[in-house]
Structures are given as C-alpha cells and as structure tokens.
C-alpha cells in the first residue's frame, strides 16, 4: 500500500493538450474520483498512472517512488478496465491467478489467494467458467478480484460501472466502496457520473479540457464551487448571468434584481460580468396571486417535486420536497403565480467564464 502523487503531470499530442499540469495527492487508503465530461483528460491521467501512456512532462510517484519511467508491468497498480478486459481464453480462476503468476507466487499460495479473492466478490462457485459464460455483473466482479488479488499499491478504476444496468450499478458501487474501505486501498477512480463520484469518493477532482478545475470533498464542491463549470457539473445549479449592483443585489441580464450576499464566498466579489449560482433545492416557493413568478412546468418525482419557474424573463429550476396532500403547494399548476425566496448566503457569486 502507498500514496499516489501526481506532479504537474501533462500530456500533449502534437499541438493539442490532453492533460495540462495536473497536481494531485491521494493519501494512503483514500479514494479519489476524477470527474468530468468525456474528453476532459481524466482517462488519460489514469492511464499515465498505470503507465500505458508516457507523460510529456511531470512525475508520477507511487509510495514515495518515482515511477514516471517505469513500465506498466513493474508499477504495482491494480486496474479495473471499463470493458473489464478479461482474458477470454482463460477461466475465471486463471484470470485471477494471472497477476500472482507474474509475481511468481507459489502454486499453493496462489490457489488459496485466488479462492479468497473470488470469495470476496462472491464468485468462488464460478471459478472454472470462461468469461463469456458470465453475466456483465459477474464479469465486473472477476475484473475486481483480478485487480485486487495482487494487493496493488494503487487501485485504479476506469469507469468501472458504466456497462452495468442502473440497479446493479447502485449495488456494485456500495460493494466497491466497502471493499476499498475494508482493505484500505489507495484508489483512483475515473467517472463521468457525478452521483457515482459523490457517493464513492472521499475527494473529487473535477476536470475539464485537460485541466483540474477544483479538488475537494463532495460537500466542498457542492457548497463552494470554484467556478460555474464545477457548479454546473456537481449537482444541478441555476446559473444566472448578470452583474453585481450592490453588496446584496444582483442585476440579471433579463433585468430582474435578485438578492444575494457577496461576502459569503471567500475572496473579493467579482466586479463586472458575473454569474449568480443558486441550487434548485435552496429556493423556497409559495403560491401568491400577486407573485411576479409564473410556473411553466411541474414535474412530480416522488420524494421531490420540481418546478420550472420564470421571473422577469429569467428561467429558474426549483426543487422542493413533495408537500403532503392538502398542502397548497400540491395544487400548484402551470400558469400559477408564485413568490420565490432564498437565503442571501445560498446565492453564490461566480466569475463569468
């Protein structure tokens, strides 16, 4: 086991940049998620850690050792591929045993550890099957067992859940997290699914176009997004363009005046063009015939109900816990006038892009 450090890691292909000066430290036993839209460089970063792509600049340090120029087979990382990459010509047990063979682990110990790993993922009864005889979820667990059985210093997961159906995904997510915590694995996971990242990782790294936008815990990112991209990517967010008129007043481009607290965020308030970030669930809503806001759509989601609202030419999304039957909120329909309210501190000012 060991920590993972990336120092100013960069990858350029000719004139195009895939990854630009990524700095990151994953401490022993921590799980960090690389999050971002496709093409943001997160997979390239992961593959540089595994050693499949040589970085153009920067260093990869595993357990205090610089492995930037170490070939993949000597790096001691355990990777789970998006496609699982099981060896189709080997049985489940042979797949899992492969890494131990490479490490010249003796036969008896090897067999024992393979069975142990398979028990860990509850597949010990399928040891002699070929990968193509397994379901997608089972294949995924074989891939996990195969990566874990060698006790890697760093555990790498490349979109491990994207080939599973929604229900299974939820289960496996919990399983992986439990395993990771139980075994104390230093883990880097790549995903484009924010929910996956939020539920599994200790910390998240949001990337966009090869650069790290923000690093932090789920809460930090959600409550204090550093920029509109992070605000929009982690959770949902109303982003209203305009400018700050006073310390507590924001003039939207549509002309509406919205109240806010420019001092809530650290650092100086942006001058000039800015964005007001407002989480949908932080907006209160009450029926009021005199209200300036109109409902344009209502979506019932069970525990929550979402309202699309327009006020002075600005469209906002509001999410409220579904009110009990009989509550006036339950009767709201398209076209009804409402009044919106929010805490000034909940409205964050972000610099315009």
């Amino acid at each position: 086991m060991g920590s993972l450090v990336l120092e100013a890691l960069s990858k350029r292909y000719g004139s195009s940049t895939a990854v630009e000066r990524v700095d990151l430290e994953v401490t022993q036993g921590e799980m960090v998620a690389l999050l971002g839209p496709s093409g943001c460089g997160k997979t390239t970063t992961l593959r540089m850690v595994a050693g499949f792509i040589p970085p153009t600049a920067g260093r990869v340090i595993i357990g205090g050792q610089d492995v930037t120029h170490t070939p993949p087979y000597a790096r001691d990382t355990g990777m789970v591929f998006q496609s699982y990459a099981l060896f189709p010509h080997m049985s489940v047990a042979q797949n899992v045993a492969f890494g131990l063979e490479m490490r010249k682990v003796g036969r008896a110990e090897r067999d024992a550890r393979v069975m142990e790993a398979l028990r860990l993922v509850r597949l010990d009864h399928l040891a002699d099957r070929l990968p193509r005889q397994l379901s997608g979820g089972q294949q995924q667990r074989v891939a996990l067992a195969r990566a874990l059985v060698v006790n890697p210093a760093v555990f790498l997961l490349d979109e491990p859940l994207s080939n599973l159906d929604a229900k299974l995904r939820g289960e496996v997510r919990m399983e992986i997290r439990a395993l990771q915590q139980r075994l104390g694995l230093t883990t880097l996971i790549v995903t484009h699914d924010q929910e996956e990242a939020l539920t599994m990782a200790d910390r998240l790294v949001v990337m966009e176009r090869g650069r790290v936008r923000q690093v932090g815990t789920a809460e930090e990112l959600y409550e204090h997004p550093a920029d509109p991209f992070v605000a929009g990517f982690v959770g949902r967010c109303n982003l209203i363009p305009g400018r700050l008129e006073a310390a507590d007043a924001f003039r939207a481009e549509s002309g509406a005046l919205l109240h806010c607290d420019s001092g809530a965020a650290p650092g100086p308030a942006p001058t000039g063009a800015a964005l007001l970030a407002l989480r949908p669930e932080r907006i209160g809503l009450a029926p009021d015939p005199a209200g300036r806001a109109r409902i344009t759509a209502v979506t019932y989601l069970g525990a929550q109900t979402e309202y699309h609202v327009e006020q002075d030419g600005t469209a906002l999304l509001v999410a409220r816990p579904t009110a009990p039957l009989g509550d006036p909120l339950r009767r709201l329909a398209v076209g009804d006038a409402v009044v919106l309210s929010w805490d000034a501190a909940a409205a964050r000012l972000l610099p315009a892009e």
């Binding site: 593959r47 050693g51 499949f52 792509i53 040589p54 070939p71 993949p72 087979y73």
Partner: protein, 269 residues
C-alpha cells in the same frame, strides 16, 4: 498510445527479417536493371539504360502488360460480385451443406495452379469439340479461368467482413421502412465496402501475377505478362526482364499509392 509491445531484440529482428525477405528480391531486380553486362555479376562493369530501351522495343511486354491488366480487371469485375453473392448466401441464408459449399468455393485455392491449368485446358478442348466453339486461347476462356482465382479470395474476405458486421444497423434500416433490397444497397453494401475492396485487390493481384494456371491457356496475340517474361528467359539472358519488372514495380507502387489516397489500404486488409 504506449503499448506493452515486446521490444526485444528477437522481436525486432524477426520484423526486420520479414521485411527484408519480402523486399530484398524486389529491390535487387530494380538494381540489376541498370547493369551494363548481359550476364549479371557483381560488381557491375558499368551502368546503362539500354535494357529499358530494349524492353520498350519488345512488343510482347507492353502487350503482355495490357493483356494481364485486361484479364485481371475483367476477372475481378466478374468474380467479386459472384463471390460476394455467394458469401452472403453462405453467411446469411439457412441453406444446408454450408460447410461443403464453402469448401467447394475455396477449392480453387487448394488445387495447384499447374494441375488446375492442365485440367482446365484438357476440359476446354473437350468442350470445344462439343460446342464447336473456341475456348482455349480466347479472352473468354482466359478470363473464366481467372475468375476461378478470384472467387475463393472474395468468399474468404467478404465472409470475414460479414461475420464482423453489426446487424443492428440493417434492422434499423428495415425498421425505418426499407425493403430488403434497399437495406442491402443502402446499408449492408456500404458497410461491407472494406471487405469488398480487399477482395477486389486480392483478386486483381491473384489474376495479374498468375503464371501456372495461365501457361496453357494463353493464345496467339494474347499472352499475359508473367508468361511473356518466362518465355523471354529461354532465349535471352540480359537484364531486359529486370527492366520490364522495374517498370511494372513502379507502375504497381504508383497504383497502390493512388488507391491508398481513396481507400486506406491499412484499414482494408
């Protein structure tokens, strides 16, 4: 992307040796085409272009080239559609005895060219007697024989292409209201294009360079280039052949580079 590619000396040596074996004789032919002496020996006493002049003056090579080109193009134009149709039937229909049919269609590949050529020649002679019509030494007879060369390659390559085809696209087309023939023309055929181009390329190659099957089937004024070259060897010993071959090599290389501009050969074969 960096690959875990073996970079051992052994591995590199094998690659180098493979390319050396394939290319050295071709390069050598180009080299000796400018040697001045009639009987090739190293080092040459001097260089000359006279063999090129001689090659040009000999009608048999230019004619042979035209005949070879003509036969190869016709055989490809006939054999590839027939072979593609057969591959479709073998891969997609529920006929019985697919294995036997497949073996039959690949058969021409397994029979030595010398044997097939002799058998075909004798067969043509019998057929001429029954039909009272020329077959040996005719363009039709020659092209028919060469179609035999193109069919197995087409069946082989198009079948492989069909096996790798995602049928969902065809189903989507049918779902959007396309009739079977339209599905084939608008979806299947374009998706098969790489396989068909590869089949056409190999068919052309097989026909163009064929010597053994052709030996007895060529006729007056209709001799293919490989046969013309072999015939020239019997009475002459100078590097004219090397000059002819060099011109051929340059033409072929040019043709391939042009083809590659339109269809990336690396994606086809």
């Amino acid at each position: 992307m960096l690959l875990p590619a073996p970079r051992t000396l052994l591995f590199r040596t094998a690659i180098g040796a493979a390319f050396l074996l394939m290319l050295a004789p071709v390069a050598m032919v180009m080299v000796i085409s400018v040697f001045r002496q009639e009987i090739v020996s190293f080092p040459p006493p001097g260089l000359t272009l006279e063999w090129y002049v001689n090659a040009w003056a000999r009608q048999e090579f230019a004619r042979g080239f035209v005949t070879s080109l003509q036969v190869a193009l016709l055989a490809t134009a006939i054999g590839v559609p027939l072979g593609t149709a057969a591959a479709l039937a073998l891969q997609r229909s529920a006929i019985r005895g697919k294995g036997a049919l497949n073996t039959l269609l690949l058969g021409p590949l397994a029979v030595p060219g010398v044997v097939a050529g002799t058998a075909l020649y004798m067969f043509y002679l019998r057929a001429e007697f029954w039909l009272d019509r020329d077959l040996t030494a005719t363009l039709e007879g020659l092209v028919a024989a060469h179609v035999l060369l193109t069919i197995p390659w087409t069946v082989r390559l198009v079948s492989a292409s069909l096996q790798g085809l995602d049928r969902a696209a065809e189903e989507a087309a049918a779902n959007l209201g396309a009739r079977p023939l339209t599905v084939f023309r608008r979806v299947t055929l374009p998706m098969l294009r790489p396989g068909i181009v590869a089949a056409a390329l190999f068919s052309f190659i097989q026909s163009f360079e064929n010597l053994e099957l052709t030996l007895l089937l060529v006729g007056p004024g209709r001799t293919t280039l490989p046969v013309a070259m072999l015939s020239y060897l019997e009475f002459r010993i100078d590097p004219t052949l090397a000059a002819v071959a060099t011109v051929q090599i340059v033409l072929v290389a040019g043709l391939m580079l042009i083809t590659d501009r339109f269809v990336k050969l690396s994606r086809v074969v």
